[in-house]
C-alpha cells in the first residue's frame, strides 16, 4: 500500500468547485433527471398517485362497506348517465345495490398487490437462475435449463387451477402460483444476455483485477442487463393483473364477499345489456393503472437511451 499512499499525497490535480459539482451528477442522477422532466412521466406519476391514494384511503374514509346491499338503490348508472344516477354512488351500483366505486377500488388493491408481488417474485427467481446458468455455464447451466424446460411445459392456467382449486386461494397462494408460473421466460432471456456479456473482454479485465464472480455479476452484469428487463416486466405487471382477474372470474381468485376484478366481472356479465357499467368498471381501472405504469416505464427507458446514446 506504500505506493498508493505516496501517490495520494500528491495534491489533487483538479479541485475546482464548479467542476466538482458538475461531476457529482452521476449517470443515474442524469437519467432520473431527464426521466422525471418528461410530460409522460408527470402524467403517469399523477395517475398512479391518484389511483394508489384512492385505493388505499377511499374505501375506509368514505365509510361505505363494499359488501353492503341496498336493494332500493340497485342498478344505478354512473354519474350523468341515464335517469336515476345519484351523487351517493359516483360509479353506480350493481344488481344488489353495492357501490361500484368502492368495490372497484378494493378490487384494484388486491389486483395491484398480486400483480406487482408476483412479477417481483418472477424477476427474482428468473434473473437469479438465468444469471447463474449463463455465467457459470456447463453443468450448472444444464441443470437450470432442464428445470426451466420442465416448468415451461406446464401450462400456467392448468397449474393455477390445480393448485388453487385444491388449496384455499389466499392472496399469498395466488402470488406464489403466478410468480412461479412465469419465471422461465426471464431465466431464458437473462441467461442468453449474460452468456453474451460473459465473453466480453471487460469481464476478463475485472477478473484479472481480482473481482470475484459475485462481484462481477452484481456490479457489472446486473446493472447493465437488468434495466431493459425491468421495463418489460412492467408490461408483465399488466399481464399478471389480467391473469388475476381471470382467476377471479373462474372462482379461483380471492373468494367473495371480498370484491375482486374477476368476481365483479363474473357477477356483472349477466347484466351486460341493461347495466353495462358493472363489468366495465374493473376494465376501466385496470386500463388506467396500466397506462400510467407504462408511461412511467417508457419515460425511464427513453431517458436511459438518450443518455446512453440509443444503444
Amino acid at each position: 500500500m506504500d505506493a498508493v499512499e505516496t501517490s495520494l499525497a500528491l495534491p489533487p490535480p483538479h479541485a475546482d468547485t464548479a467542476e466538482a459539482r458538475l461531476m457529482s451528477r452521476s449517470i443515474g442522477r442524469r437519467i432520473l433527471g431527464q426521466a422525471t422532466g418528461s410530460t409522460g412521466f408527470k402524467i403517469g406519476l399523477a395517475l398512479v398517485l391518484i389511483l394508489a391514494l384512492a385505493a388505499a384511503l377511499y374505501p375506509e374514509l368514505s365509510g361505505i362497506d363494499p359488501v353492503k346491499m341496498d336493494v332500493r338503490a340497485r342498478l344505478l348508472p354512473p354519474l350523468f348517465l341515464g335517469e336515476k344516477w345519484s351523487w351517493a354512488h359516483p360509479l353506480g351500483t350493481d344488481q344488489i345495490g353495492r357501490d361500484m366505486l368502492v368495490r372497484s377500488l378494493v378490487g384494484l388493491r388486491t389486483s395491484f398487490l398480486i400483480g406487482v408481488a408476483s412479477v417481483a417474485l418472477t424477476l427474482l427467481i428468473g434473473c437469479a437462475l438465468g444469471t447463474v446458468a449463463g455465467y457459470f455455464g456447463g453443468r450448472t447451466d444444464t441443470v437450470v435449463m432442464r428445470i426451466t424446460d420442465a416448468q415451461l411445459s406446464i401450462p400456467m392456467i392448468i397449474l393455477a387451477i390445480a393448485v388453487l382449486g385444491v388449496s384455499r386461494p389466499t392472496i399469498p397462494a395466488i402470488i406464489l402460483v403466478l410468480g412461479l408460473s412465469n419465471w422461465p421466460v426471464y431465466a431464458r432471456v437473462m441467461r442468453s444476455v449474460v452468456m453474451a456479456e460473459r465473453g466480453r473482454e471487460y469481464v476478463r479485465a475485472a477478473q484479472v483485477s481480482g473481482a470475484t464472480h459475485p462481484r462481477i455479476i452484481l456490479t457489472l452484469l446486473v446493472p447493465l442487463l437488468l434495466p431493459p428487463l425491468l421495463f418489460t416486466s412492467v408490461l408483465d405487471v399488466a399481464r399478471m393483473m389480467i391473469f388475476e382477474s381471470t382467476l377471479g372470474f373462474l372462482g379461483l381468485g380471492v373468494q367473495p364477499p371480498t370484491p375482486t376484478f374477476g368476481n365483479i366481472i363474473a357477477d356483472g356479465r349477466k347484466y351486460l345489456l341493461n347495466a353495462w357499467w358493472i363489468a366495465t368498471m374493473p376494465g376501466l381501472f385496470l386500463c388506467l393503472t396500466l397506462t400510467s405504469i407504462n408511461l412511467i416505464g417508457a419515460a425511464f427507458e427513453r431517458a436511459r437511451n438518450t443518455i446512453h446514446g440509443g444503444a
Binding site: V4, M23, Y202, A205, V208, S209, G210, L224
Partner: protein, 611 residues
C-alpha cells in the same frame, strides 16, 4: 491510356439535424488500368468514406456535397440506379471485416455464385460454379472444389478474406476498391493477399484502389500513393518518392512515426544490462507449461479430441523487461495470456510469480498477485462496459481491493487519468463518444489504477492506427520509467515489437520456437519461421530477408492433429531429413538466446565454437 477512374472535386458531408461536418473536401485523382493506387491516412481521415463514394455507396446521414466520380468517363454519382446496377460487375468492393460480409447460414461458394449471377445474369449456374472454383483455386484456397461447399465458420480469417477477394473478382471487374483488406490478417497471410492482388492486376487488367491505414502496407501493394488527412488530399506521389521525399508536413510526420526496424534503434526502453545474469530476478517464470483443451471431435456425437494450444513453454521474464510474445493467430498467444493472468490453470507445468506457483495462491495472496499483474486488452470497443461511466469503471478495481473512502478513490482515479493523458472532465462520461485511442487509454488507466508491477498487453495496439500507436507507445515508455513496470506484449506486429521490446519469444503452434534479445532476433534469427515473419513484415526500409526465400505458402496445420517431427516443416523452405520424424529441441545459441531448429548447431558445436 485513359484513366479507368477519375475523381474530381469530391466532397462528402455528414448531415445531422442541426449540424453538418465535412468528411471529404475537394478530393481529386485518377486511376489508370492495371494500376494499384494506395490511399493512406489516420483513422477518421475519411478513407472509408472515400472508398464508398468511389463505388457510389454513400447513404444518409452522409451526403455528396459536390464533385464527380467518373468511371470510364461516366459520372457514377449521376447515374440512375438501374444503370449503376449494370456497372456493378465492373466495380467491386472488398471491406475490412470478412466475418461480417458473408452470410453465416449459406455455403461460401453459393454466396459468390449468387453475387456473380446477380451482376451477370447471362452466366449459367454451372458455368458460374466452375468459374468460382477456378478463382478459389487461383487465390490458393486448398482443395477449392470441396471448400466451395463449406460454410463461412469453417474458413479461417485469411481464407475468408481471400474468398471475399474472389467474390469481388469473379465478374472480372475493371476496378477493385480494397478498403483496409489486410487489417485483420496476420503478416504472412497479408503478404500472400497483397501478392495475389498484384497478380490479379496482371492477369485481368484490374485497377485497384488500395486503402490502408498503414503506409508500409500500402508500400507493399501500391505504385502510387495518396495521403489523406482530415478529409483533404494532402499529397500524391509515386510511393517510393513519397517515402523518400515527402513534400507535405503531415506526410513527413506520418513517415517519421513508422518504427525503424533495421536502422539504429533510438532508445531501448529501460532494458536491463545485457550483462545481467540470467534468472537474476525473474518476476514471472514459466516452467514447462502446457495447456490442452478437449474439443468436440468433428463428425462424432460424443467423441473429443485433444487440442494442444500451448506445449511445454519455458521462459523467464526479468523485472523491468519489455517482453514480447509474437506469432500468427492460432499459435497459442492468447492461451498463454490466459495462463499468465491466471484466468486458466495450465494442464501441465507451472507459472511462477517471484518463485511462487500462482495456481496455488488463494485469498489475500491471490489478491496481492491480482494487484501486481494487470491486463490491458485488445479490442477498444469490447473491453469497456458500455453503460458504465469512465470514472466508475476506474473506481471498480480499487473497490475490489478494499478501498472504501470515496474521496481517496476519486483522487486516485483522477491522478491516474492525468497520468495516462485522459482529461479529468471525462470522469462522468460514458465511453460512447471516445475514439479508439482514448478507449485504450481508459484501458491502460484501469490497469494502472492498482499500481501494478506487470502489465500484460494483449494486442493492445493492434486496433489503432499508426499515429495513435505512436502516442501510446510513448505513454507506455513514460509509465515504465515512472513506475518501473515490467511489460509483457502479446502481439503479431513485429515492427511495434522491434521498437518497444527488449526480449522476444516467437511462438508457432503452441511452442516457443525462438527466444532471443531484440537485436539478435531481428539481425540473426535462428529459426526459419522467425525469418519468414520478418520477411513478411511490411516496412519502409530495404528488406533484409527476401519473401521469395523464406515466405511460406498456406496456413499452419491444425493443433489437433500435430504433424510428426517438426511442427513447422510443412511450411518451411529449408526442411530436410530429420525434420520429418524428429521434433527439434530448443538449443542454445550464444549466451542468452534459444531456437528450436535442426539447423541450429547442437550444444556440442556451440561449446566447440566457444572453446
Amino acid at each position: 491510356m485513359d484513366p479507368v477512374l477519375s475523381v474530381r472535386d469530391l466532397s462528402v458531408a455528414l448531415t445531422l439535424p442541426g449540424r453538418q461536418r465535412t468528411l471529404l473536401d475537394g478530393i481529386g485523382f485518377d486511376v489508370a488500368p492495371r494500376e494499384i493506387v494506395g490511399v493512406v491516412g489516420a483513422s477518421g481521415a475519411g478513407k472509408t468514406v472515400l472508398s464508398r463514394a468511389v463505388v457510389n455507396w454513400i447513404e444518409p446521414p452522409l451526403a455528396i456535397r459536390s464533385g464527380s466520380v467518373s468511371f470510364r468517363g461516366r459520372n457514377l454519382l449521376a447515374l440512375p440506379p438501374r444503370e449503376m446496377r449494370r456497372l456493378r460487375r465492373d466495380i467491386a468492393y472488398v471491406g475490412a471485416n470478412p466475418m461480417g460480409a458473408l452470410d453465416p447460414t449459406l455455403p461460401v461458394g453459393r454466396q459468390i455464385v449468387e453475387k456473380l449471377r446477380a451482376v451477370m445474369p447471362e452466366v449459367s449456374p454451372k458455368e458460374a460454379q466452375a468459374r468460382v472454383v477456378a478463382l478459389l483455386d487461383a487465390v490458393r484456397i486448398p482443395s477449392a472444389a470441396s471448400r466451395f461447399h463449406d460454410y463461412p465458420s469453417q474458413f479461417s480469417g485469411g481464407m475468408m478474406q481471400r474468398a471475399l477477394i474472389v467474390d469481388a473478382m469473379v465478374s472480372n471487374p475493371a476496378l477493385l476498391v480494397a478498403d483496409n483488406v489486410t487489417q485483420p490478417l496476420d503478416v504472412t497471410v497479408a503478404a500472400q493477399v497483397i501478392r495475389l492482388m498484384r497478380e490479379l492486376t496482371e492477369r485481368f487488367d484490374t485497377a485497384i484502389l488500395f486503402v490502408s491505414s498503414s503506409l508500409p502496407v500500402a508500400r507493399e501493394a501500391a505504385s502510387r500513393t495518396l495521403v489523406i488527412d482530415a478529409g483533404k488530399l494532402v499529397e500524391e506521389q509515386a510511393t517510393e518518392a513519397l517515402i523518400a521525399a515527402p513534400r507535405h508536413a503531415y506526410t513527413r510526420a506520418l513517415v517519421a512515426q513508422i518504427p525503424v526496424i533495421w536502422g539504429e534503434r533510438p532508445t531501448l526502453p529501460a532494458a536491463p544490462k545485457p550483462a545481467a545474469p540470467v534468472h537474476a530476478d525473474a518476476i514471472i517464470s514459466l516452467r514447462d507449461v502446457s495447456q490442452t483443451y478437449r474439443v468436440k471431435k468433428r463428425g462424432s456425437f460424443a467423441g473429443t479430441s485433444a487440442l494442444r494450444a500451448v506445449r511445454n513453454v519455458t521462459f523467464d521474464i526479468v523485472k523491468g523487461d519489455s517482453f514480447a510474445v509474437v506469432g500468427e493467430s492460432g499459435c497459442g498467444k492468447s492461451t498463454l495470456m490466459r495462463l499468465l493472468s491466471r484466468l486458466e490453470h495450465p494442464s501441465g507445468g507451472s507459472v511462477l510469480c517471484e518463485g511462487r506457483d500462482i495456481a496455488g495462491l488463494s485469498g489475500a495472496e491471490l489478491l496481492g498477485f491480482r494487484r501486481k499483474l494487470q491486463l490491458v486488452l485488445q479490442d477498444p470497443f469490447n473491453s469497456l462496459p458500455p453503460r458504465t461511466g469512465i470514472g466508475a469503471m476506474l473506481e471498480a478495481p480499487l473497490r475490489t481491493h478494499g478501498w472504501r473512502d470515496p474521496r481517496k478513490i476519486r483522487e486516485k482515479v483522477r491522478a491516474v487519468m492525468d497520468d495516462v493523458g485522459l482529461p479529468v472532465s471525462l470522469y462522468d462520461d460514458l465511453p460512447l463518444g471516445l475514439s479508439a485511442g482514448q478507449r485504450q487509454r481508459v484501458n491502460v488507466a484501469r490497469a494502472m489504477v492498482l499500481d501494478p508491477e506487470i502489465l500484460l498487453m494483449d494486442e493492445t495496439l493492434s486496433a489503432l492506427d499508426q499515429t495513435e500507436q505512436f502516442k501510446l507507445l510513448a505513454l507506455f515508455d513514460k509509465l515504465q520509467r515512472a513506475h518501473g513496470l515490467t511489460y509483457i506484449y502479446i502481439s503479431h506486429d513485429l515492427a511495434m515489437v522491434r521498437k518497444a521490446c527488449n526480449r522476444i519469444a516467437v511462438m508457432y503452434l503452441g511452442e516457443v520456437v525462438e527466444l532471443a534479445d531484440n537485436e539478435r532476433l531481428f539481425f540473426d534469427p535462428g529459426h526459419p519461421y522467425t525469418r519468414a515473419l520478418l520477411s513478411a513484415m511490411p516496412s519502409l526500409e530495404e528488406r533484409r530477408y527476401r519473401p521469395e526465400d523464406c515466405l511460406m505458402e498456406g496456413e499452419p496445420p491444425s493443433p489437433i492433429d500435430l504433424p510428426l517431427g517438426c511442427a513447422f516443416r510443412s511450411r518451411c523452405p529449408q526442411a530436410f531429413g530429420p525434420c520429418l520424424d524428429r521434433p527439434p529441441l530448443l538449443s542454445v545459441r550464444g549466451a542468452r538466446d534459444l531456437a528450436s531448429c535442426h539447423l541450429v548447431p547442437g550444444p556440442g558445436a556451440t561449446l566447440a565454437g566457444a572453446a
